[in-house]
Symmetry: C2
């Protein structure tokens, strides 16, 4: 089974020590899982010359904020694959670390980020791309726990699908995560407009918020006001079409 | 908002030291959460005479295998409530512990179990009651982690909704939990029929399995063959109606 509906490719270029470097990638995947079959497959290539250990290091870093920061339905796959191949054809001095590795890592992260976003956009039944950022957490790790809890909440995903500026479901999902949340300090923005402050509803333009929520790209920001931890998860809404794809499919 | 559609009550009786004891309960709740509003509310009454500390202890025990073992959508509520009131009108000798407390605890668990099951049956959009048991885990705690992961997997819940005997989604959901799982040892039964053994499909009557999965009560048992840990979670399927209820509802 595949429910992929769109080609997912990305390419970026940069310069390293006078040489033009290209990083390109291609991805497959739209549900996180379909047991016994390949699900998410990502192949990234570059012509940069780089030592295997340095390449492994920058790939892990890039994956952490891209492929490891997306969720369609919380159902992780048994067979996700991310492979990078570096040919060395660019003839730059072989990278072993330092600023050159950082620079190539930046290009790699750009390609991985674009592919990860494309996978979520093509998520099973997805009609909206949703960027969930949790800031002000006690640590990045806690921000991640809260952001994932929101991004995987069926109630939140249904609210997004229905275009409802429902900050209560956002705060509730963060509150039941393992992250420390003090509802009397938390504030929430939808598309840059503060809709909740210190755990209570703000005066905001409801019609404008609903119009924003009806769009195809939604940005949610929950600030916990407890520290400087921050993390962003990309997800999509939960629609009847997701049910159709996954209930009507038979082994 | 309430999407409760059925009354949920339970009553049991027993004898304690020559006195007839009655335990009765009533519950409200069908989605796990609707912020700012009361969601699950359970009130249990008994005419037994019992010390507050002993009552608290048996209530916690009863809740653990009943209300804390159900999930509709994984979205826990901010305001679930379970209250027990004991009037002492039965005029039994006041229970402070021991076998009498265990006996009353058994009656309490029976009432809580019946109400918990009624809540899941009335779950938002639910068309099936699903009993997910994980056995053979290294501990009860690990069995619980695996059982919850299965019961909260959107893919598994969609498969149940579609009547698909998809053991792959069951094993995958257990595998991504924090419980230790060795796929080469695990076996899975649907309604008592083994469909998977040592991580591979068995020869089984597919038509019979599909007919079973099309029913309104489904029992799934995953045996990890690693120990004696065991836990059962009650849940329901995930349907288009769930999306309709939660996407079309607006704050």
């Amino acid at each position: 089974m595949t429910t992929d509906t769109r080609p997912k490719t990305a390419i970026v270029q940069g310069r390293l020590g006078g040489q033009r470097i290209t990083v390109a990638g291609v991805a497959k995947g739209s549900g996180m899982i379909a047991p016994s079959m390949a699900t998410m497959l990502v192949f990234v290539t570059t012509d940069a010359a780089i030592a295997a250990s340095a390449l492994h290091r920058i790939l892990r870093t890039a994956a952490d904020t891209t492929f490891n920061a997306i969720t369609v339905d919380g159902d992780t796959s048994t067979s996700d694959t991310l492979i990078v191949l570096a040919s060395g054809a660019a003839a730059n001095r072989t990278i072993t670390g330092g600023t050159d590795a950082q620079k190539l890592g930046g290009l790699l992260e750009e390609v991985c980020g674009a592919l990860a976003e494309a996978i979520v956009r093509d998520g099973e039944g997805a009609t909206k791309l949703v960027r969930v950022t949790v800031g002000g957490a006690r640590s990045d790790a806690e921000a991640r726990l809260a952001a994932r809890s929101i991004a995987e909440s069926p109630l939140f995903k249904c609210a997004v699908h229905g275009g409802d500026p429902n900050w209560g479901r956002i705060l509730a999902a963060a509150g039941r995560s393992q992250a420390r949340v003090d509802q009397d300090r938390a504030s929430c923005k939808l598309g840059g407009v503060t809709v909740m402050r210190r755990g209570a509803s703000c005066r905001f333009d409801l019609a404008a918020a609903q119009k924003y929520m009806a769009g195809s790209e939604i940005s949610v920001e929950l600030d916990l006001h407890l520290g400087s931890g921050r993390y962003t998860v990309l997800t999509c809404d939960l629609s009847r079409e997701y049910i159709a794809i996954n209930a009507d499919y038979h082994t």
